[in-house]
């Protein structure tokens, strides 16, 4: 029993990182209706940029912020130059998926070609641990939970209290209507891609910190649990993605605690497949949003 309680604690820590990535992914889908599989490779890129900065003596959290911004910029450019034009031309959804998978593959192998295949690390953790009842969490894990909570709260404020946020939500729910209300949807898109790109970058560095040791396959490994979290919560719903992240994190760790840890990743996969087959709109997706997910 104690193992399970501990596992829940670990699951919250893992879940926080997954939530961070899932929210960015979800926002990208909400704004542009694209399942951006390149997200994984972009997280990897961020982790490597962070490594370069840290190796030059930049403080870890500053490196995280800088990498996040860098990936935010790359994401905007990527969307503007490749994805948006393809969508404008009427490229079908399946072709868009193939494009984002291909782009992710290209980016991943460019990273390998330049940085080499060896595993990398940001360095030893500070060693400080926190104890809450039966749970033990490291400093890094707690810091990431706090960071995720802060970023999610900031995003919440943005989406609900600012004009920009309202414009993003409007564009997300019905682009044409938003445009006819005078919202500059393509500028809003750029901003949304920048913000979600920053979240992607932050997730990448957070992952590198959590796993302690990583290589070029970092993003690819964690993309699927993040998509699972986003879909579970309701694709396009940031709050759903947060909850989805927690659920995925906790269930994976509990599974590892009570059964064969080899199948730990399978938990997230199976959740994703079941959600897609049984209730594609996820937990919090509004009924009308499932229109977007169905054929036609």
């Amino acid at each position: 029993m104690q193992l399970i309680i501990e596992a829940i604690g670990f699951g919250i820590a893992t879940g926080a990182v997954i939530a961070l990535g899932a929210v960015g992914f979800s926002v990208q889908f909400g704004i542009s209706n694209i399942l951006n599989i390149t997200y994984g490779a972009l997280m990897t890129l961020s982790a490597y940029i962070g490594l370069i900065l840290i190796n030059r003596g930049v403080n870890a959290w500053a490196a995280l912020a800088l990498s996040a911004v860098a990936v935010g910029v790359v994401s905007v450019i990527y969307h503007r130059i490749l994805l948006a034009p393809l969508v404008r031309r009427g490229t079908r959804a399946i072709a868009m998926i193939i494009v984002t998978v291909s782009a992710g593959t290209i980016l991943q192998y460019v990273i390998v070609a330049i940085a080499g295949p060896s595993s990398q690390s940001y360095g030893e953790q500070s060693g400080q641990t926190f104890h809450f009842a039966d749970l033990t969490l490291s400093f890094g894990q707690v810091a990431i939970i706090v960071l995720t909570a802060v970023l999610m709260f900031a995003l919440h404020l943005l989406l609900t209290r600012t004009t920009l946020g309202k414009a993003m939500r409007a564009t997300s729910s019905n682009r044409t209507l938003a445009r006819s209300c005078g919202i500059a949807t393509s500028r809003i898109s750029d901003i949304a891609w920048f913000i979600s790109g920053c979240l992607c970058g932050a997730a990448g560095v957070a992952l590198a910190i959590t796993t302690v040791s990583f290589d070029f396959s970092l993003g690819a490994l964690f993309l699927i649990p993040m998509i699972a979290a986003a879909v579970l919560g309701g694709i396009g719903q940031p709050y759903g993605a947060m909850l989805g992240g927690l659920i995925i994190g906790v269930s994976s760790e509990v599974a590892a605690a009570v059964s064969n840890p080899n199948y730990k990743d399978v938990v997230a996969f199976v959740i994703l497949i079941i959600v897609l087959l049984v209730r594609p709109r996820g937990l919090f997706g509004a009924a009308w949003s499932s229109r977007r997910l169905m054929e036609g």
Binding site: G11, V112, S118, S119, S121, S213, L221, E253, A257
Partner: protein
């Protein structure tokens, strides 16, 4: 070098007789040594891309060392030998075109070194069919009873390694161990040997876990291991996974980590650096034991090998670390053995000189014991018989062309190299399987 008579090419005859005799050393074709013009190449079949890519570069090093020395001594039958990297990608299906292309396009690819378990199942048969003698270090148990005449293995199979872990753990007094292996080929092979040997030695496997590679967190698995209160961990995982796991162990267990027994496969700069970065150098140099095929580091053979690594600019940076590990050393010895076989056969053509491999390592009355290529070359020129005893010590091939060698335990030194701290009897290990 002596009289060079041109014989009629009867390599096919020799080859057929050879294959029919299943690689045993029948001297039936001693009158037809086929010749080849031009310099020769040793192919290093290793992963340079894919999940095991870190090994490719490491495993090219012994080839450079061996060929440097051979060329310095005048080459083989007057020809120079160079190393060629053949990427097996870690994917058995992709390895096949790469290897066949290399065989087609490389001039005089007369020897090969196969260095990865993931693809051995498809690449060894290829090289064997092309009649190229190959020294392989794959640990696949499936090759323990194979019948490929051109295949030679100087390192133990994975299940023997697993049994060696058990022997060492019990020797150190760790009776109750937790086995944590990453899901992968090598560990899959280790497990049967380990589970078979441990009870026979009076020890017990408290907990046995297989963990997925490169996960974000292993906290739950770590908690399970801590709960089992093991005396030591028997461990096998890549540097990344190890770093993540051990870092969490340290945090969850109030800074205390049990000693670790792992394979000498982990004797790599990547593993050392990754682990050192997260748990500190004290643990890494005092409580991590690397068990595997091993050898004395005070012999003349070893010194020659290590010096060669240090002298070559391509390998000097890793000379200290690499020299203590079994598989690369077996590659170095293997090249020397094949080279000496070529000299003795007066031919560099694989289908012909393969039958001389056993002749250069077998003990016989009147044989000169040599520990490097140059000495062996001199002795052969003087018309003597030789017995090559290299870095790995005396080689004894069984009927399946496997030679297990000796086992030992090493620890890391602060600079990432390793020192031997104890030996493990090979006979005992094999007896426990």
């Amino acid at each position: 070098m002596g009289s060079q008579r041109t014989w009629r090419v009867s390599a096919l005859v020799g080859a057929t007789a050879l294959v029919a005799a299943c690689g045993s050393s029948s001297p039936s074709s001693s009158s037809s040594a086929p010749t080849q013009s031009g310099n020769i190449t040793a192919g290093v079949i290793a992963p340079f891309t894919g999940p095991a890519a870190q090994f490719g570069k490491l495993l090219s090093a012994p080839c450079f060392a061996a060929t440097d020395l051979i060329n310095k001594a005048g080459g083989i039958l007057g020809k120079t030998i160079s190393c060629s990297a053949i990427d097996d990608t870690g994917d058995p299906a992709d390895a096949v075109p790469n290897v066949t292309r290399a065989i087609a396009t490389t001039t005089n690819l007369d020897m090969a070194l196969g260095l990865e378990s993931n693809t051995a199942a498809t690449t060894v048969p290829l090289v064997n069919d092309a009649k190229i003698p190959i020294i392989t270090t794959n640990g696949l148990v499936a090759f323990t009873k194979n019948t490929y005449p051109y295949y030679w293995r100087l390192t133990p199979s994975d299940d023997a390694n697993g049994a060696a872990f058990a022997v060492w753990a019990v020797q150190k007094g760790y009776k109750n161990v937790a086995v944590v292996f990453q899901n992968g080929i090598g560990s899959e092979g280790n497990l049967p040997g380990l589970t078979s040997a441990m009870p026979k030695l009076g020890g017990s496997l408290g907990l046995q876990l297989t963990i997925p590679a490169d996960a974000a967190s292993y906290s739950s698995e770590v908690a399970r291991v801590i709960n089992a209160h093991p005396d030591a961990l028997i461990w096998s995982a890549d540097p990344q996974t190890t770093a993540t796991f051990m870092s969490e162990y340290k945090q969850l267990n109030n800074g205390v980590i049990p000693p670790m027994v792992t394979a000498t496969d982990s004797l790599t700069p990547d593993f050392f650096d990754a682990l050192k970065k997260v748990v500190g150098v004290t643990y890494v140099t005092q409580d991590v034991y690397l068990v595997g095929s091993s050898f004395s580091q005070t012999t003349a053979a070893f010194n020659t090998y290590k010096t060669a690594l240090q002298d070559d600019s391509r390998t000097s940076a890793i000379a200290d670390v690499l020299s203590a590990v079994g598989p690369p050393a077996s590659e170095y010895d293997g090249i020397n053995i094949l080279a000496l076989a070529m000299v003795m056969a007066k031919s560099t053509v694989g289908s012909y000189y393969n039958q001389f491999v056993t002749k250069v390592i077998s003990p016989k009355p009147g044989a000169v014991v040599v520990s490097n290529f140059a000495d062996g070359l001199a002795a052969l020129k003087a018309g003597k018989q030789i017995q090559y005893v290299g870095v790995l010590g005396p080689v004894v091939f069984n009927q399946y062309h496997n030679s297990a060698g000796q086992f030992a335990a090493n620890v890391f030194n602060p600079d990432g190299s390793a020192s031997r701290v104890g030996s493990i009897s090979g006979t005992q290990v094999l007896g426990l399987l």
